[in-house]
């Protein structure tokens, strides 16, 4: 006699956690939950990316599923960061007339911002007792992830840790950036967008896009130019500091 139904919880669990469907469904549902919470409460601190990272991270820790297993599905989502970066040309195109007129203040601000970011990252990490390795890992954290990872590798930091620091800098910008800019009385949407893109790359830009199209356009531009400025300045600054 062959039984028609059985009970295979272990096999099913093993299949589930090694299937891309797990990471993919978990990521999208955690993000949907984050969007719902953001809309429902109207609280700008509850940025969907923050809620989703906490929920997914919590689920993985509780279920003892490794990050690598999760990435089998998660990487399907992460892949679209590339095309989305390309898509940032759209707000830039819409506000091109404003961008052209602000060229000189814009470039000055981005170079100043990149210098301050890199120098303060190295010095503050050093003063608070961080090793040279940690200082090198921290230096490129303001640039967008593919750039910060490559730079960290180039100067002898820990690229994987730089990636995490970069993402946290981004989430910080989405959550607290506009609040700090209000506090500093920076009200011009062009300056606000440039600041968010320079300190918090694409994640900061997602918050800038929530505020206005002008702010989003300047943030997208700032993210791209800051990535350039950071890759030129990090090796130079590290020669001196």
């Amino acid at each position: 006699m062959i039984p028609l139904v059985g009970w295979h919880p272990h096999e099913t669990w093993d299949w589930l956690t090694s299937s891309p469907l797990f990471g993919l469904t978990l990521t999208v549902s955690a993000y949907a939950l984050g969007r719902w919470a953001h809309r429902r409460t109207g609280n700008p601190v509850l940025q969907p990316v923050l809620v989703a990272v906490v929920v997914v991270g919590g689920v993985l820790l509780l279920t003892d599923v490794s990050y690598d297993d999760y990435l089998r599905g998660g990487s399907f989502v992460g892949f679209w960061l590339g095309p989305a970066t390309v898509a940032l040309a759209l707000p830039l195109h819409h506000e091109w007339h404003l961008v052209r007129r602000a060229a000189v203040p814009l470039l000055t601000g981005i170079v100043a911002g990149a210098l301050v970011s890199i120098c303060s990252a190295v010095l503050v990490t050093r003063v608070t007792g961080g090793s040279r390795l940690l200082q090198l890992t921290m230096a490129p954290k303001a640039a967008t992830t593919p750039v910060s990872i490559a730079l960290s590798d180039q100067v002898g930091g820990i690229p994987e840790l730089t990636a995490v620091l970069t993402i946290v800098a981004g989430i910080t910008g989405a959550v607290a950036g506009p609040w700090l800019l209000d506090l500093l009385r920076v009200r011009d949407p062009r300056a606000r967008g440039l600041a968010l893109g320079a300190a918090s790359h694409g994640i900061g830009t997602s918050r800038a896009l929530q505020e206005s199209r002008v702010e989003g356009a300047f943030s997208a531009l700032s993210m791209a130019l800051s990535a350039l400025a950071t890759s030129v300045l990090v090796p130079v600054v590290l020669l001196v500091l």
Binding site: A87, L180, A191
Partner: protein
């Protein structure tokens, strides 16, 4: 409305990124491929000047609306570094957040100051 334009928009994004990635590798540039792809797409947009109903606008808009979703998998990478974060909490937290705030303030302050200065001088 048909969904075909959105498909076309996504295809253009992929093509621009592909061009960017190829250019970066061919010429050994220290810039990420998607950033070069963004410049390529900007040129396409400046030349074609698409209407809002065009796929060149609707495809990218769809992706930008959910930009935060795309950062989630990278952000979850934090779970592999919780031990490191615990052992080096002070330099990591201070280095990251203080430097983040200073970078934000420097960029915002310099640009806002220069724009105000220029607007006041009236051109």
């Amino acid at each position: 409305m048909s969904d075909l334009p959105v498909l076309k928009g996504v295809l253009v994004l992929l093509a621009c990124q592909l061009v960017g990635e190829l250019v970066v590798r061919l010429f050994g540039l220290d810039v990420p491929g998607p950033v070069v792809g963004m410049v390529v797409f900007l040129v396409v947009l400046r030349v074609r000047r698409p209407r809002p109903s065009s796929g060149l606008v609707r495809g990218p808009s769809l992706l930008l609306r959910h930009l935060q979703l795309l950062f989630v998998p990278a952000g979850v990478g934090v779970i592999d570094y919780l031990d490191v974060a615990r052992d080096h909490a002070l330099p990591l937290a201070a280095g990251l957040w203080l430097s983040w705030a200073l970078g934000l303030a420097a960029t915002g302050g310099v640009v806002a100051g220069l724009l105000r200065l220029r607007d006041r001088s009236g051109r």
